[in-house]
């Protein structure tokens, strides 16, 4: 039976070899071992062992520090490899919070690709390095963020008025007194969280009057408008200005008109509270440039929603590449999750329990956040292939004759049956915010309203005649029985309840310049001018549509 002995011998040798190979691979060829072997601390080489940051409350057991050793608790400067740089100074100590809370990725892993989450079957890959601040969104909610333009103005005001000369913000600016007495003014990086002195302006001016010397020039009194800008700048300093900037772009793109975030917004589209936690394994990457990254998918989604999500009704974001990047940045930060009591930050409490708004409540920001997605940044409406047209609500011809009642009623109740939602609801806007939007619209249009002395209903026309005229001249755009088509629906309850007869008559007579609605008081090549009586008959017919009767 020699062959059995050979069988045993050869298979044993093979087995021994395989075991040795496995042992060597595990004990010598791991990347983390090689990195730690290169490390040199104050007292020489460090012990080579797995390291981790454990935080049971946050369910973290992050072994990132097996390679990124300097970031481990209690480790200080280590030299020897790129990997051993310490963590950038941040508010939260990585040794307490772990790494994955902010950066994402697979903390339990000890191999590079697994740890960075760039493997199949790990739903939460690491955030791109340049967008690491999006990780703040795991816990935090930046509050009171304005739209892009006001924020930019605020940032520029702080620069223009030379505040950086004395104050440091996120590592930039600030002067150290020559006598070694610290910085001239306080560090304002977290003024939005920790608060600032409300009497700062008086104090600055008083100081200018009291002191003499070179410092005086910096404290010239600041105009009221600039004061507002500076205060907006201070309110938004939370230590993550990149995220705040990205949020301001979000708030200027009208996304909240269709999407809900933290319970506020429209419901045409899905709620975005977990939009930053998309699982790359479940996304379709065909036609997405930039590889199988969630950020690439999101960016393409903003550029052309319908090519990434079949059947999407979302209009493409009308933004340049930088704007798309900012939108992606902000959307990645929408990754809030359940937190233990101890770790719930104050801003989330303020938003959830005290109803403080995430966005600034001035008309410009509100319009940018809720309306501009459909109605355009300039308020002149949007026309997109495949979607119903969105009217220009800041059109001068509209604003000059629209009664306040009409604008407010439309904002509050929307257009039932059409895409315009009513905003006076818990997930929508508050009454003062609606008024702010209405006021901003008037400002955007740049016209004042023409006075109208007539009562709301004064037309006395013949509805039957009006119907004939309507069917001849109006149904082409406004649909049979005014149910809408290219043009808005005219049988809408809210419209007819809030519009005055003057408004309707003047709209028909003058039209809206620059749109397909012609002024019917003027003749046109295809039809004669309509007389006042004709127009009134049409209006009478429209009134008969009230309640949906035809």
């Amino acid at each position: 039976m020699k062959k059995n002995k050979y069988l045993l011998l050869i298979s044993s040798l093979l087995g021994l070899g395989l075991l040795a190979a496995a042992a060597i691979e595990e004990n010598y060829f791991r990347e983390w071992r090689r990195i730690q072997e290169q490390a040199r601390g104050e007292s020489g080489p460090i012990p080579v062992q797995l390291r981790q940051i454990v935080n049971p409350a946050l369910k973290a057991a992050d072994r990132c520090v097996s390679c990124h050793v300097s970031m481990a608790p209690g480790e200080s400067m280590l030299r020897g490899a790129e990997m051993l740089r310490p963590h950038k100074p941040v508010v939260h100590d990585p040794a307490e919070y772990g790494c994955t809370v902010c950066h994402g990725g697979q903390g339990q892993a000890t191999e590079k690709d697994d740890a960075h989450g760039r493997v199949a079957f790990w739903p939460e890959p690491m955030l791109p390095r340049e967008m690491s601040w999006a990780g703040c969104g795991t816990c935090h909610v930046p509050l009171g963020v304005p739209g892009e333009k006001p924020l930019r103005e605020a940032e520029l005001a702080f620069e223009r008025l030379d505040c950086y000369a004395c104050h440091r913000v996120e590592g930039r600016g600030g002067t150290i007194r020559p006598d070694g007495g610290g910085m001239e003014g306080p560090d304002l990086s977290f003024a939005g969280l920790r608060g600032y002195d409300a009497a700062w302006h008086e104090k600055h001016v008083k100081k200018a009057e009291a002191e003499s010397g070179a410092w005086r020039k910096s404290f010239a009194p600041v105009s009221a408008e600039d004061q507002k800008r500076l205060e907006m700048f201070l309110r938004t300093r939370t230590g993550a200005s990149a995220l705040v900037r990205a949020k301001s772009v979000f708030l200027s793109s009208g996304c909240l008109g269709c999407h809900r975030v933290n319970g506020v917004g429209g419901d045409d589209g899905p709620a975005l509270d977990a939009a930053g936690l998309k699982d790359p394994g479940r996304l379709n990457f065909t036609g997405v440039p930039g590889g199988r990254q969630v950020s690439a998918w999101m960016a393409e989604h903003f550029r052309s929603p319908v090519s990434v999500v079949a059947g999407s009704q979302m209009p493409p974001a009308a933004l340049p590449e930088e704007g798309i990047r900012q939108l992606t940045f902000f959307t990645l930060s929408l990754r809030a999750r359940e937190l233990p009591e101890r770790y719930v930050p104050k801003d989330r409490v303020r938003a959830a329990r005290f109803g403080e708004r995430e966005f600034a409540t001035d008309g410009e920001t509100l319009y940018g956040a809720f309306c501009s997605g459909c109605h355009g940044a300039d308020g002149m409406g949007r026309r997109l292939a495949g979607l119903a047209a969105f009217p220009g609500i800041a059109h001068p011809d509209f604003l000059s004759i629209a009664p306040d009642e009409l604008i407010l009623r439309t904002l509050e109740d929307g257009r039932p049956g059409r895409r315009m939602p009513g905003w006076l609801k818990p997930e929508g806007l508050r009454p003062e915010e609606i008024r702010a939007v209405a006021a901003y619209l008037r400002e955007l249009g740049g016209t004042t309203r023409q006075p109208d002395s007539r009562p709301a209903r004064w037309v006395a026309g013949v509805a039957a005649r009006g119907r004939a005229l309507f069917e001849r001249y109006c149904t082409g755009c406004h649909g049979p029985s005014g149910k809408g088509g290219e043009g808005p629906a005219l049988n809408n309850k809210v419209l007819l309840a809030a519009a005055t007869d003057t408004y309707l008559v003047e709209t028909i007579r003058r039209g809206r310049r620059g749109t397909a609605m012609a002024g019917f008081a003027e003749p046109a090549p295809v039809r004669p001018a309509l007389s006042q009586a004709d127009v009134e008959a049409i209006v009478a017919f429209l009134r008969s549509l009230e309640g949906g009767k035809s």
Binding site: K5, Y6, A20, Q49, L50, Q52, N55, R63, E96
Partner: protein, 161 residues
């Protein structure tokens, strides 16, 4: 196995072994070696490479209002930190008798399990504890104190901020 041509020997009797069965023995020993190697590897498994408990080194910020001699116990840690004019120091709250957590008080430390009492500097005053409470290694940088529960410092070491 050869056959005996002459004497009709029964094979129940001992027969001379002409040569060692190198092949068979070699095969068996190789198998044994591979089992031994495997056993050694398997015995490494139960010793965990990382412990699932929070790290022994931790950072803490002492409250501004801490009086001299007043203990500050960070939440979730069995360490008491003190600050006095000479500096910051940390004393472990793990009783040296059998490991219960002692309570810091005005006159030192008291262990609820078997009644050990310790002086404010950790020396044993009373009770079954065999050794004083250890002082732990502390380092201060920029207002943040780092304590290493795994490293013992000589009694009386105070680190100035």
């Amino acid at each position: 196995m050869t056959t005996q041509a002459t004497a009709k020997q029964s094979r129940l009797d001992p027969e001379p072994m002409p040569r060692r069965d190198w092949l068979g023995l070699g095969a068996l020993w190789t198998m044994g070696a591979s089992f031994l190697f495997a056993a050694v590897g398997m015995m490494r498994l139960p010793k965990a490479a990382v412990l699932p408990s929070p790290s022994k080194k931790f950072k803490v910020a002492l409250p501004e209002t801490l009086a001299a001699g007043e203990p500050f116990v960070p939440p979730g840690r069995a360490v008491a930190l003190f600050r006095d004019p000479e500096g910051v120091y940390a004393i472990s709250l793990v009783c040296t008798h059998l490991g219960c957590i002692v309570k810091p008080g005005a006159e030192g430390f008291e262990c609820p399990c078997h009644g050990s009492r310790f002086a404010p500097d950790g020396e044993v005053r009373k009770g079954p504890a065999p050794k004083p409470l250890p002082w732990l290694k502390v380092s201060v940088s920029g207002g943040v104190v780092t304590v290493d529960e795994g490293a013992v410092a000589p009694q009386g070491t105070k680190v100035s901020a």
